[in-house]
Amino acid sequence: MESKAIFAENLTKYYGKARGIDGLDLAVAPGDFFGFIGPNGAGKSTTIRTLLGLISPTAGKGRVFGMDIVKNKKAILERVGYLPSDTAFYNGMKVRDMLKLSADLRRKDCSAASAELCERLQLDRDRKVEDLSFGNRKKVGIVCALQHNPELLVLDEPTGGLDPLMQHEFFSILQERNQTGVTVFLSSHIMSEIQRYCSKAAIIREGKIIACDSVDKLAKTGTRRVTFRGNLQPDALPDIRDWTESDGIVSFLYNGETNKLIRTLAGLDVHELTVSEPDLEEIVLHFYEKGGDQA
């Protein structure tokens, strides 16, 4: 347990009667590039904000680097860089002063790292923070999260507002950091992002983790996307989901025995058949849907 970068056991947060997260179990090993996937309101931000001590858990335990999230907030925050999903700064301050303030609050001189990051992200340090676009404010947040070289990066929907070039540069930086042993924990809606960069991922739905594995294994569930031109009734096979039919093209996700599929199709007039692995997005969409928890 102590060896985990992030560890949560039965972590629960209720806002009054409203569910934030409910009995969440999570383990992130040091050095992981970890994706945290879930729809709006599933509890991604609640999980992150609880782990960082912004809100206190209603029940359960949480540890970061083996330290209790309630008792050792300060020691945890020393080692963490956090990028909130909505970054706000103090009006009237220049980017340069904002970054300096963040470093000073950590009692660290981060000027070299700060300069390098601003250069790479093309962030003008002489602008006032309130004049910045959403994307540029995000960059300020990124520099604040990275400039003190933390051991754990917690990023809440980090790429919103960044243009594709900046997203690429940002992920390059994250990968470089990850290669030096930094643990990266990022929440996202964007499945291609997770599939491309993360080694592991957890899927959260209605406050609970419903799947947690390596991204490769999550994507290889045995489920297949079957598409062909022909005629098939949806009830002809069990274990069919996501059925669509248009212009004679039938498409569905199949999770049953392959032989059964072949036998059924053999009796039909089938053209242009493809059987492919669904991408992570399709799998996750099914995790999101109610009852779709055996994809």
Partner: protein
């Protein structure tokens, strides 16, 4: 230290405007005093015989024709209300504004204990209050010297001390309330300051409502009472101190376990 410096940097413009506004009003009034003085003898008796109105503002016990009396009433209304509004505003904004402006997430994910943040913000509020009061006191004393009147050092210093303590109390109480808010509470702060001011006026009007003067900090910052007694009312001050401590204690208690939005 970093945080206190940051807080003061964020606050200095508003502090400057408040200080100059309150100071300027007092200076202007004092510069009108020499001319008014010559006409005062007749007006003064009118002022002091307006019944309820006179007692509400202490006109019955203070001689409006003397500098002390004039200053006690005039300063009472400018520094009294102005300072109270200022103190209430900075107190109520101190903790709540971080969440209102969305900066709480930034600040609270730096390695700082909540207690350190509360303390730094409280100290910043007290420093601002002190700066405003010292500056206004200097402007007042300077103006009295410039218009060639003898400076009533003891009275004026006592009065300004009372106003300073009033503002500290109000700021501390609002600071405590601030810990419970998510959206800023300018209305609450201003409302409280004004309500307490009128509470004192009601207390002045009728002796049946005397108890109000023990609740409101304006009760111990009453020019006529301070000048007549030559001292501040220890009992009222102690009650004020108790309110201040409760406010501060509430802030620490609540903010340390608060869920940040």
């Amino acid at each position: 230290m970093t945080l206190i410096r940051h807080e003061l940097k964020q606050a200095w413009k508003a502090l400057l405007i408040w200080t100059l506004s309150i100071g300027a009003f007092i200076v202007i009034c004092l510069f009108m005093y020499p001319e008014m003085k010559s006409q005062m003898n007749s007006i003064s008796s009118i002022f002091s015989s307006m019944g309820m109105f006179s007692s509400a503002f202490g006109l019955d016990t203070l001689d409006f024709g003397s500098l002390k009396g004039f200053y006690g009433i005039e300063c009472g209304n400018i520094l009294g209300i102005g300072g109270a509004l200022f103190a209430a505003l900075i107190g109520i904004a101190a903790l709540a504004n971080e969440e209102k402006n969305g900066t709480a997430e930034f600040l609270l994910t730096h390695p700082l204990r909540r207690t350190e943040i509360i303390t730094a913000k409280l100290i910043s509020v007290l420093i601002q209050t002190l700066i405003l009061n010292v500056a206004v006191w200097l402007m007042a004393v300077g103006s009295i010297a410039v218009i060639g009147e003898p400076v009533p050092w003891k009275e004026i210093t006592l009065l300004h001390t009372a106003y300073f303590l009033l503002q500290v109390e109000l700021a501390c109480v609002c600071f405590g309330i601030s810990a419970f808010l998510w959206k800023g509470g300018i209305g609450i702060g201003l409302g409280l300051a004004i309500a307490l001011y009128f509470m004192n006026i009601i207390g002045n009007l009728t002796s049946k409502a005397d108890v109000l003067k023990y609740i409101t900090p304006f009760g111990y910052a009453d020019g006529s009472e301070i000048f007549n007694k030559g001292a501040l009312d220890g009992c009222k001050l102690l009650i004020g101190l108790a309110f201040s401590l409760i406010g501060v204690a509430l802030a620490y208690w609540k903010y340390n376990k608060k869920d940040i939005r």
